[in-house]
């Protein structure tokens, strides 16, 4: 069952992405106010959702599980690392699609808007996580420090969000629901939006799985090099 779902993940993801783009670009009607520009609603919010919640959240949960003695394992460290790497990709996509949407709307590629700014700061957090990992050679030291940093970054998410939001905001309000949960998008557009969220979420897990496999191979190479280094070191003792 597990193997079947893993084998189907890629094809299903591609199918849903294809469906999203077909519906989003050709089938759904243009927006009353923004026209065809609003078709970015089928990409930007979903990518932002994955960047800020799914991938960052996965990295944080895996980091907590790594630090918790009962669940500590190399798997958790690898998941956290891979999720954070994929998070960088999605954060970059969020900023790019946000800028593309913002240029005609606000007249500039970058505005000091709350969500864009806080997303950019979180992007730097994700890059800093990767920089921290590169600065430590020892696997356990690297895993521990990275896990702590991921938790600190996650704690900062609401702090950054509210501070930047109270500072200034140009971003449009809620796209999908009003504050009292009334649906703002209807019919086919709503369904397309839902499919886009599902498609990009599955894309995250597909990329995560691929990246994780690469990490496993790297880990096996590391074990092999350690075994060789051990043999060589022991030979020093015999000489």
């Amino acid at each position: 069952m597990k193997q079947l779902s893993q084998r189907l993940l890629g094809p299903v993801t591609l199918a849903l992405l294809g469906l999203t783009f077909w519906l989003g670009l050709w089938v759904t009607p243009p927006d009353k106010v923004q026209g065809n520009l609003a078709r970015l609603v089928y990409v930007h919010p979903a990518v932002a959702w994955v960047a800020l919640y799914v991938s960052f959240g996965t990295a944080t949960i895996a980091s907590v599980l790594y630090l918790w003695p009962r669940t500590r394992s190399i798997v958790m460290d690898r998941v956290a690392h891979c999720a954070m790497e994929v998070s960088v990709v999605f954060i970059l996509l969020t900023l790019i699609t946000g800028s593309i949407w913002g240029r005609p709307t606000w007249g500039v590629w970058w505005a000091w808007d709350a969500r864009l700014t806080s997303t950019a700061i979180l992007g730097v957090f994700a890059l800093a996580y990767l920089a921290l990992r590169r600065a430590n050679d020892d696997p356990e030291l690297r895993a521990r420090r990275s896990a702590v940093f991921a938790i600190l970054a996650a704690i900062n998410v609401p702090i950054i969000h509210f501070s930047v939001q109270w500072w200034k905001t140009l971003h449009q309000g809620a796209t999908v629901f009003t504050s009292n949960r009334t649906l703002l998008i209807h019919g086919l557009m709503a369904w397309t939006l839902l499919i886009s969220f599902l498609a990009f979420t599955l894309l995250f897990f597909w990329l995560l799985r691929a990246r994780y496999r690469l990490e496993v191979v790297r880990g096996e190479r590391y074990e092999t090099s350690v075994a060789e280094a051990l043999l060589e070191r022991r030979r020093e003792g015999v000489r």
Partner: protein
């Protein structure tokens, strides 16, 4: 490998990795309580790494190890560190504080009375240097301050990493005497040194390390 109740250190196939390099590549070792052992070997043989492993200062990658009844893989390494006295070959204290201030910090950290400090300074011959900043001490005096730090702590296990380096004859004789006194009082002492201990009257067990392994063991 079985160990007797008086065994303070037991290592079996102990491997320590740092950045993928095996500092220790399968050490087997038992140390009895109240014993004096010297670890010798060429540079890079793993002498310092062995002492740091026993002191809970580096992690055991594979194999088993037990020091002072604390498992090196699963035990509380912070508690183990409290039970050992460490003298490294680098400076071991705060350079901007005076000799006495360093020892006051040590005593207060251990909740020991500070009135023991004058006696300790006298024992290591640093009474006249009490107010001198640590950074102005000579290499030999810094070693003596490091010893004072350990004497204040009175640990059951002493780990001395190349204590004789940069010492003159008087300094080496002083160290031999101190080590002898410490062993007589029941502490376990492990010394790493390029050369054998100066005083043959101490009869240390000599362990030779090469390639991160114990390749020689002579009593």
């Amino acid at each position: 490998m079985t160990s007797s109740p008086s065994t303070v250190v037991t290592l079996h196939d102990a491997v320590v990795l740092m950045g993928g390099f095996p500092l220790l590549s399968g050490v087997n070792l038992d140390l009895e309580a109240g014993s004096l052992s010297v670890v010798t070997g060429a540079n890079g043989a793993g002498k310092t790494s062995l002492l740091r492993l026993i002191g809970g200062l580096v992690a055991l990658t594979s194999g088993t190890g037990r020091v002072s009844d604390i498992d090196l893989k699963t035990g509380d390494l912070r508690e183990l560190r409290r039970r050992v006295g460490w003298l490294g070959h680098e400076g071991s204290f705060y350079d901007d504080l005076s000799v006495k201030e360093n020892l006051v910090f040590c005593a207060k950290a251990l909740a020991r009375p500070t009135n023991e400090i004058p006696g300790v300074l006298d024992r290591v011959g640093l009474t006249s240097r009490a107010s001198m900043p640590a950074k102005l001490l000579s290499a030999g005096q810094r070693r003596r301050l490091g010893l004072a730090w350990i004497l204040l702590r009175r640990p059951a296990l002493w780990l001395l990493d190349e204590p004789y380096a940069s010492l003159d004859d008087e300094g080496r004789t002083f160290f031999d005497q101190l080590i002898g006194d410490v062993v007589t009082s029941g502490a376990t002492v492990l010394v790493s040194a390029h050369d054998p201990l100066r005083s043959s009257a101490l009869h240390p067990r000599t362990l030779t390390l090469a390639g991160g392994l114990v390749v020689g063991d002579r009593s």
